[in-house]
Symmetry: C2
Subunit: 205 residues, 2 copies
């Protein structure tokens, strides 16, 4: 099993390599990657070793080749389509966030239960009622459901998403969701970021 | 240097231990913690070993004692106060998120540059103009600045926060910020969570 921290670092390495490509750099060493993203070069080599041999010892890696490999491993050599359930403050901020499209994730539909939200526009997309879920998921080949509803509605919304065919759930609600074994669930709690700050403020004192 | 992934796991262990305290459980083994949060027991022991000896071999850990240690290491044995700059969709969703207060982080003030936002209420707090920054940071002993403004305003807002005395910045804007060496900077990009999903959807295929 690949540690999640490794997958998140691959994402960071790929963004760094993308910057090198923009700057016209042709080859790079693990030391340079390590320095560029703020980890040890041993960590870079360990992370890449999970996926086979990429570079030549002593010569380093060809930037374009390594970048292509990483994007393929992360599944970013294709586009993914997501659906957002809950067009409230968080859901709207995510719907309009340019960072998703830049990494290959499109928002194919945004649904909400409230009449005041249905019919409003978020960028190019119109907020639709929940009844449109199965149709939009099929039409746009949506595999990822993003849950930004209150805790009380989260499990019911998740069950509907899975029934309608999504394969992965990104849950922002403060509720522990139950999903079948063949569905990937990831919970986001932004307070963990604050705890990393409080750890550093406390530890470095 | 403690790996960031270790700090994030300590946060998860502490939440799990909190649940055990609620359930009246008095002692727990590293195997049980590992099983409860979904990592290996070797990982649990390795993470805890960074901070000294906590349990007795063969007997396990006293839940309340270990919980107290972890909260102290994370700096959560005290409360922290944060200020949010940018009362847009994301800033308002963060201002109202109960998860922050539950982990010991209060939002002491919310500022914005736009006249339509100033004077509106988010929960108990009124959105105020940027001129109030230094006063609110001093009055409420604020150490963390949360940046939820557009990329074009992010560096200027960060400079003002640091001038006004914050010690750490949580940046949501898609801009690479420059901060002095004595200020802790953490960038959040929610698309990384989608990439962990695309990795798993791709890898498990
Ligand atoms: N994980 C984090 O770090 C984090 C941060 C901020 C907010 N949150 C959580 O995200 C969720 C949304 O927060 P928000 O500030 O956007 O809240 P909000 O009230 O602004 O938005 C919630 C939206 O969900 C809709 N909704 C309610 N029930 C529904 C249902 N059954 N089906 C479809 N839509 C439904 C509402 O109409 C509303 O538009 C909350 O659960 C909140 O706790 C999490
Ligand atoms: N990191 C992520 O994963 C992620 C996700 C969503 C949004 N974002 C980013 O978060 C930021 C906010 O997104 P949003 O959807 O809330 O946008 P928004 O437009 O709804 O909110 C931005 C707010 O900032 C205020 N503002 C602008 N200039 C300011 C200044 N100089 N000082 C103080 N306030 C100022 C505006 O008045 C507005 O209220 C954007 O940069 C966006 O790209 C990041």
């Amino acid at each position: 099993k690949i540690p999640e921290a490794t997958v998140m670092r691959l994402s960071i390495y790929s963004r760094y390599l993308h910057q090198l490509i923009d700057d016209g750099v042709k080859s790079v060493s693990s030391d340079e990657i390590a320095h560029g993203v703020g980890v040890s070069s041993a960590q870079v080599r360990k992370d890449l070793a999970y996926f086979g041999e990429f570079g030549t010892r002593g010569v380093g890696y060809k930037v374009e080749v390594l970048y292509g490999h990483l994007m393929k491993i992360l599944g970013l050599d294709r586009r993914w389509c997501a659906i957002i359930i809950g067009a409230g403050k968080l859901g709207s901020a995510l719907a309009l966030y340019q960072g998703f499209a830049a990494r290959g994730f499109n928002v194919g539909a945004i649904l909400d239960a409230s009449p005041d939200k249905i019919g409003t526009k978020l960028g190019e997309i119109e907020v639709e009622p929940l009844e449109m879920m199965a149709q939009r998921i099929e039409e746009k080949n949506i595999t990822i459901g993003i849950v930004t509803v209150p805790a009380s509605a989260a499990q019911e919304v998740t069950d509907k998403l899975i029934e309608s065919g999504v394969k992965a759930i990104l849950n922002f609600s403060p509720r522990v969701l139950k999903v079948p074994g063949n569905v990937i669930l990831r919970n986001v709690d932004l307070s963990v970021n604050l705890e990393v700050l409080s750890f550093n403020l406390n530890y470095l004192k």
